[in-house]
Point group: C2
C-alpha cells in the first residue's frame, strides 16, 4: 500500500524542466486547488483555503488599522450601470459573463456577474455621501469575481473565477486620495515581502496597461522563476471619472457641490500562485512560514513495544506547541519515510521526528523544509527554537528570491539588449518614450514582452536620454518582460 501510494502522491515533473506541469502537480498533490467542472474555474481545497484565510486575517488587521471597513455588495450589476463609465465598460465587456434568465423568465435587462465592483459601489457612494463630513468613506469586500478568460487557464494564476479583496475609498481632496493610493500599494509590498517572502517592484503602469477607467494604476510585480512577471496587487488612482459618471457629489465646506476623488485596490488568489511558484521545489510545496497554517508536523517513529510511550510523548509535544498549530501524524499504516515525503510535499515548514532514543533524551530531531537541515533540540527548548527557525526560513526564502530577481534583471542600453534579454527570460529595465504605439511595436518584435511598471524608486531621466526602441526622448525608466 505505502509504496503504491507514494508513487501516486510524489511530484514527477521537475521545476527547472517543465514549470507549468510541475506547478500544476504541486497545486493538485498538495491538495491546494483543483479544476472545477466549469471550464476555466477552480475549487480551492481546504489546504489552499487555509492559506487564503491567513492572508485575509493579516490583511483585515492592516486595512482596519487604516479605517477601512468590510461590506458586501451585489454579485450582479445591471448592464446599464456597468456601461456608465465608457472606458471601464470597453475594457471589461469582452470578459463579462451575463445572467439573462431566471426561473422560467427572460430578464428585461442583462445582469453582469461582477468582474470588479466599481460601478455598483459608486451607486452606494451616491446614496451615502452628502457632505464633506461623511468623507473619507472607505470600504472593502472579500468576494469572488468572474472574468471570462479566453487564454488557457491555470490554477490560481489565471482562472475565470478568482477570489480577492477589493477596497474602494473616496476622499475630499486629490492629495489625500493619491497618498492613500500609494499607502495601500505599500501595504501590498509589505504583504508580499514581509509575509510571503516574495520581493516585488513597486511602480506605475503605462496608459496601455492601466486598469480600465483609472487615471493611474500602481502595481507590485514579482518575477517568477521562469522569467515571467506576475502582478501581485494593484492600487488604482481613479480621479473623478467614475464620480462624474455616477453623479457622486458632496456639499463642501464652501457650501458648494464637489466631486470626491476615488481609489480602488485589490489583490487576489493569483498571488497564491506567486507564492507557491516562488518558493516550492521538486519535493513539493514550500510555504513561507508566516503564512503557513500549520507550522509544525510531529512524526513519531513507532517501533514495537515502545510505540505507546512514543505516541504519548508526541501528544504531549503537540499540546505543548499548540501556538504553532501542529499536526501529529501517528497513523500506523504508513512508514516514517512515507510520512516525511507526504508532509514535505504539503509544505509544512518544520518536521519534528521523535523515536525511542529521543524520548529517553527528552529531545526531537527538527528538520527544516527549506534546507532539509536537521538538528537535535531538547523538548524544553522547542518553544524558543521554533520561532527562530521560522524567522530564519523566511529570511532564507526571501534572500533566495531576491537573488533570483537580481540575477534575472538586466539593463538594456539598446533594442538589441532588450530583445536578447527577453529571449533569455530576463526582466529588462530600459529607458522608454512612454508612448502606446512604441509599446505595441516592442510587444510585437519581442513576441510578447509587455511593460510591467515604471519603478517608483528609480526614475532618473537625464537630458538626452533616448527611448530604447524608437530613440525619441526618454520619458521614464520601465521594466519589460513576458508575464502571467
Amino acid at each position: 500500500m505505502a509504496t503504491e501510494e507514494k508513487k501516486d502522491v510524489g511530484i514527477t515533473a521537475k521545476k527547472e524542466e517543465d514549470m507549468p506541469e510541475w506547478f500544476e502537480q504541486v497545486c493538485l498533490k498538495a491538495e491546494l486547488a483543483e479544476f472545477s467542472d466549469v471550464k476555466g474555474c477552480m475549487v480551492i481545497r481546504p489546504n489552499g483555503y487555509a492559506i487564503w484565510e491567513n492572508l485575509q486575517e493579516y490583511f483585515n488587521k492592516v486595512i482596519k488599522s487604516h479605517g477601512v471597513r468590510n461590506a458586501a455588495f451585489s454579485l450582479l450589476i445591471p448592464e446599464s450601470y456597468f456601461k456608465k463609465e465608457a472606458e471601464h465598460a470597453k475594457g471589461f465587456s469582452p470578459e463579462v459573463a451575463w445572467v439573462t434568465e431566471a426561473g422560467d423568465s427572460k430578464l428585461e435587462e442583462r445582469l453582469a456577474v461582477r468582474p470588479t465592483s466599481e460601478t455598483l459601489i459608486c451607486k452606494s457612494f451616491k446614496k451615502w455621501l452628502r457632505s464633506y463630513r461623511d468623507l473619507p468613506i472607505r470600504v472593502n469586500q472579500w468576494c469572488s469575481v468572474l472574468r471570462w478568460e479566453t487564454k488557457q487557464t491555470k490554477l490560481f494564476l489565471r482562472s475565470r473565477e478568482f477570489w480577492w479583496q477589493e477596497g474602494h475609498c473616496i476622499y475630499e481632496t486629490k492629495e489625500e486620495c493619491a497618498n492613500e493610493t500609494i499607502l495601500f500599494l505599500n501595504e501590498y509590498k509589505k504583504l508580499c515581502e514581509n509575509i510571503l517572502a516574495v520581493p516585488v517592484i513597486a511602480g506605475v503602469k503605462t496608459q496601455k496597461e492601466k486598469f480600465a477607467g483609472a487615471v493611474d494604476t500602481y502595481t507590485v510585480e514579482a518575477l517568477m522563476p521562469d522569467g515571467k512577471a506576475l502582478q501581485m496587487g494593484t492600487s488604482h488612482f481613479l480621479g473623478q471619472g467614475f464620480m462624474k459618471s455616477f453623479e457622486v457629489q458632496f456639499l463642501g465646506k464652501d457650501e458648494k457641490m464637489h466631486y470626491p476623488f476615488y481609489n480602488s485596490w485589490g489583490f487576489s488568489t493569483r498571488l497564491m500562485g506567486g507564492l507557491i511558484m516562488s518558493h516550492s521545489d521538486n519535493k513539493g510545496l514550500v510555504l513561507p512560514p508566516r503564512i503557513a497554517p500549520n507550522k509544525v508536523v510531529i512524526i513519531p517513529i513507532l517501533i514495537g513495544k515502545e510505540t505507546e510511550k512514543i505516541v504519548k510523548k508526541a501528544e504531549e509535544i503537540k499540546e505543548h506547541l499548540s501556538e504553532f498549530n501542529p499536526l501529529l501524524d501517528n497513523r500506523e499504516e504508513y512508514t516514517p519515510g512515507w510520512k516525511y515525503n507526504e508532509w514535505e510535499m504539503k509544505g509544512i515548514p518544520i518536521r519534528l521526528e521523535i523515536g525511542p532514543k529521543d524520548v529517553e533524551k527528552d529531545q526531537v530531531v527538527l528538520v527544516r523544509r527549506d534546507t532539509g537541515e536537521k538538528d537535535f533540540v531538547k523538548i524544553e527548548d522547542l518553544k524558543k527554537k521554533i520561532p527562530k527557525v521560522l524567522d530564519s526560513m523566511h529570511e532564507n526564502l526571501f534572500l533566495k528570491a531576491q537573488k533570483l530577481l537580481k540575477q534575472n534583471t538586466v539593463v538594456a542600453k539598446d533594442f538589441g539588449d532588450l530583445v536578447k534579454g527577453i529571449r533569455e527570460k530576463k526582466l529588462v529595465k530600459a529607458k522608454f518614450c512612454n508612448e502606446t504605439e512604441c509599446e505595441d511595436w516592442i510587444k510585437e518584435k519581442t513576441e510578447g514582452a509587455t511593460t510591467r511598471c515604471m519603478p517608483l524608486d528609480d526614475q532618473k531621466i537625464e537630458e538626452g536620454d533616448q527611448c530604447v526602441h524608437c530613440k525619441k526622448p526618454a520619458k521614464c525608466i520601465i521594466y519589460f518582460s513576458k508575464s502571467y
Copy 2:
C-alpha cells in the same frame, strides 16, 4: 443642522403598529443594509457586515473544533450537474438565475448561479474519496447564493442574494452522519440562544417542507414579535441520494465499494433579520451584546473651558477599555442629546457619558441600551463592571424573547383552536397526521399557516390521539404558524 438631521435619522414608525415599515427603517437608519440597484438584492453596509463578521468568527471556531475546514467552490454550476438529483433540481429550478452568455458568445450549456452547492460539492467528493480512510470529509464555505424570489423582498429576511455558510460532510456510516446532522443543529441552537439571545425550537420538518433532495431536514425556528416564524438555520440529513446520483463511492474495510452518507447545514443573513427584529425597539437597533462589534460608546459632554480636559479623559477611557472596541464621539458640531439618540439608534449596548463633574470624581454615567438604566461607575471599576452589564443585557434580552415565545404559543385541541390561534398570530402546537394532503388543506383553510417543525423534545403521542384537522390517528406533535 442638528435638529434637521435628527428628524432625518430617527425611527418614525412604531414596532407595535407597522412592523414591516419599522423594520426597514431600523435596517436603513442604523446603516445595516440597503436595497441594491438589482431588484430584490441588497448591500450589507459596514455596520451590518461587522455583525456578520462576528458571527463568522464565532462559528468558524465552532466548526473547526468539530474538524470542519473551509474551502471555496465555484459560483457557477453546469445545468447538467444541477439536474442530476431529480428532486433537488425540481425544488430549485423555479428560482435559479442562469448565465447564458459570456463576452460576445452564447454558452453551449447554461450555467446556474449557485442557489446552494450540493451538486458541485458532490463532484469534488467524487474526486477526493477513495477509501474509508479518507472519511469523514467535512468542508464548509462562506459565500453568497442567489434564489430568484418572486415574493416581495425584504432586507435580510428575504432577498434574492443572501450570504451564508454551507457545511457539507460525508461519513462512512449512517449513524455517524445522523449524529452530526443533529450536532450542527445543536450548534445553531447554541448560536441563536447563547450568542444572539433568540430562543428557538429545534425540530424536524415535514416531507413537504424539507430541503429538496433531503431525507430529513432539521431546523431551528424562532418566533418574531409579529407572530411569524423565522427559520434561523437548517441541517439536512441527505442519506445516500446525492451520492448515488453523483457516483460517490469508497472502498470499505471489507474491500467492497460503498456509498457514504451525506449531510449539509447552513445559516444565512436571514438570521440577522431575526436578531434585529427580536430585540430592537422604537428608538432603533438593540444588539445582543455578545455579537455587537462595538460594546461601548463614550460621549464626552463638551462644555466651554473644560472641553480639553474632558476630551483627554474620554480618550484615556477609550484606551483603557480597548478590549470592548469602544467608539468615542467627540464631534463638536452635535449636542450630547443628539449623539445619545444616534448611538441608541445604532444599537451600541453601553453608553458612557462623561462631563466636568464626572472628571472631578473619576466616574462616568453608564447607560444600558436595553433598559435605559443609568448608573454612576468609577472609572477604575469599568473593566469589571462592563462584562457584568453585558451579561445582564444578554440575559434580559433572552428572557424577554423567551417570555414572548411562551405567551404566543398555544396548544390547539381541535381545528377551531388552530384557526383561532393563527388568526391571533400565535405559534400553534397540535397533534398531526403528518400527511402532505392534510398539510395543504390546513394551509388553505388558515390562509397561509405552514408546519414549522416537529419539536425534538416533545413527541409524546398516545394511542387514540387524533390529527387536529383530519382526525386520523396522530403521528406527531407539530407547530403551525405563518412565516417569513
